[in-house]
């Protein structure tokens, strides 16, 4: 089985988000970039397929050269090869079209992406990729087993979960559950050394028109002051929630 794991290069979850150039660009100053958390769960599940079922695992990112350390980290965790599509990702469909080309050229059976990237939160790339390549698609996937061409996947739904049966080729939008938090791997020295020798192939982007364009960003208005209620005066809290906030 050939697995392609899509790796989004995103600001670390603790980052303060600021913008530059007249609020048109993310200010990357002082921001540490990491593998998108949803993708990291998927990558770790892919390593399981590699170790238990002999799968080959490639990772891919659509981005500039600044994303290479993130791809190297994925190689250090254990992926066999990395691909960087050399382009500035402008919108979800643009990225999905680049990935569709990579998926088809590499004849991958299973593509593991994250349910969403924690930067632009679009949540659209995996589904668009599936639609463009005519592959099956399972979103918010929290468990996957592959036996030959057959797949059993579990998807999180609002208020529960659903067990689905399908076949390869398949794209999933994954998240925590694919593996547990405690299964995530921190690259060790040996992995980091090996990663330096592994191929990181740079491919040129195909042309694709923009379907949308972000014009500017804005930060939320600062929050008003909190009202403190004395622990001995719970009636006051109920009163505030009822008469002031009107939520109960």
């Amino acid at each position: 089985m050939k697995i392609l794991v899509c790796i989004s290069h995103v600001p670390d979850t603790t980052s303060k988000i600021n913008f530059t150039d007249n609020n048109t660009k993310l200010d990357a100053n002082g921001v540490q970039f990491v593998i998108n958390p949803n993708d990291e769960f998927g990558l770790t599940r892919a390593m399981w397929f590699k170790e238990k079922q002999g799968a080959t695992v490639h990772v891919v990112n659509v981005g500039g050269s600044e994303t290479e350390p993130t791809l190297r980290k994925a190689l250090a965790i254990g992926a066999d090869e990395a691909i960087r599509v050399n382009a500035t990702p402008t919108d979800g469909l643009f990225v999905a079209k680049q990935l569709a080309k990579v998926m088809q050229d590499g004849a991958y059976d299973l593509v593991i992406a994250g349910r969403e990237s924690i930067d632009y939160n679009g949540g659209m790339v995996p589904g668009m990729l599936a639609a463009l390549t005519n592959a099956n698609f399972v979103n918010t996937c929290i468990q996957i087993e592959v036996d030959g061409n057959n797949v059993i996947a579990i998807r999180e739904i609002d208020g529960g979960k659903e067990t689905l049966k399908t076949t390869l080729p398949l794209v999933i939008g994954g998240q925590k559950g694919l593996v547990e938090e405690s299964d995530l791997r921190i690259p060790n020295m040996r992995g980091i050394m090996q990663a330096r020798q592994k191929p990181l192939n740079i491919v040129e982007a195909i042309t694709a028109s923009n379907e949308m364009q972000t014009l500017s960003f804005e930060k939320p208005a600062p929050k008003g002051a909190i009202k403190m209620v004395d622990a001995e005066n719970i009636d006051e809290l109920i009163n505030l929630l009822h008469n002031e906030a009107k939520v109960i």
Binding site: Y120, G127, N136, K219, L241
Partner: protein
């Protein structure tokens, strides 16, 4: 040319988010000088959609669509959009809508905007405002394609009545075998509980509760309020609560009217995911807990004393205000 809204239902009953989406569609239609058509799939009684401004409902009743199937549902909505020559399609941000939206966008060759929080800033060019960086910022985006799909973020527009005389039409889309390449084998859900996605109130607890055996008081409080229960990430990582209850940046988002955080410190990743809740209450014994900077109301004190008292007082309040 009408604005098409997909009005989701759950086991034959329209969801509240569907009514919010219809209200929103009505505002978009007003900007475009057109009307709202709703598409309902096994949605049961749809007359309520007229209350929120739909003038036509395409009603699909089909046993093969009894269970949600993203590809088939996207195919139905695509055909409805084409039939209505809709240039704008409105979806909610439920798990199912988020699942089908990208498939629909490719099928319709449309621009897709997700997490949209308000009516378009303008319709020509078509600009929308949405949340990005998990609620840490907003983006203003211009949609270029002729057809636009908007995923409305929950609880941002609200329900707005606009009584309209609504006509209902039986609609039979054409389905193909390929639409069912994914089969649902089983669905496992707690039927007696409010889901975090649909809840008006969410009661959430963290590591401050010390252990899974102490969640009884959280469930009691949630029960009085008709609330969903949620938890912080470490609580689900340690197996105290199921993963489905984990909220925050890497868990479920919460956009309820009221979010009550008990024994949760308020880490940045937690706050990012719950920030779009309207009113936040925090109960924590550490006055320095960062959550106090992000909340609207706070009590410093021991959760084990405060929560049972709060539950009792709320029971009295509910009894007096019933």
């Amino acid at each position: 040319m009408s604005v098409l809204v997909y009005t989701e239902s759950d086991r034959g009953k329209l969801k509240k988010v569907a009514l919010e989406a219809t209200s929103y569609a009505n505002a978009v239609a007003a900007l475009l000088g057109t009307t709202v058509t709703a598409i309902s799939i096994n949605g049961g009684d749809v007359t309520e959609l007229g209350t929120y401004g739909a003038s036509k409902v395409l009603q699909v009743t089909n046993s093969s669509l009894e269970k949600f199937n993203a590809k088939a549902f996207a195919d139905v909505i695509k055909q409805a959009a084409e039939k209505e020559s809709a240039k704008v399609v409105i979806l909610t941000s439920s798990a199912n809508s988020k699942y089908l939206a990208p498939l629909l966008a490719v099928n319709l060759n449309a621009s897709l905007a997700t997490n949209v929080v308000s009516v378009p800033e303008s319709v020509s060019p078509f600009n929308v405002k949405s949340t990005v960086f998990t609620n840490k910022a907003f983006a203003f985006t211009e949609l270029h394609k002729e057809i636009k799909i908007i995923e409305l973020a929950k609880n941002t527009y609200g329900l707005k009545e606009n009584q309209t005389s609504v006509s209902s039409e039986v609609y039979e889309p054409h389905l193909e075998d390929g639409d069912f390449a994914i089969q649902v084998q089983s669905v496992d859900r707690a039927t007696d509980k409010v889901t975090i996605a649909d809840a008006e109130i969410v009661v959430s607890a963290g590591r401050g509760l010390k252990g899974p055996e102490n969640w009884g008081m959280i469930e009691d409080l949630a029960k009085v309020l008709g609330a969903a229960t949620a938890c912080s990430k470490p609580v689900s990582d340690m197996g105290w609560r199921p993963h489905g209850e984990h909220v925050g940046q890497t868990g479920k988002p919460v956009a309820s009217n009221l979010y009550i955080a008990i024994g949760i410190s308020g880490a940045i990743q937690h706050l990012a995911g719950i920030n779009s809740s309207k009113v936040k209450v925090v109960i924590n014994n550490d006055p320095e807990a960062p959550f106090f900077k992000a909340a609207d109301y706070g009590i410093v004190g021991d959760a084990f004393e405060i929560v049972p008292k709060l539950t009792e007082k709320l029971k009295e309040f509910k009894a007096n205000n019933a």
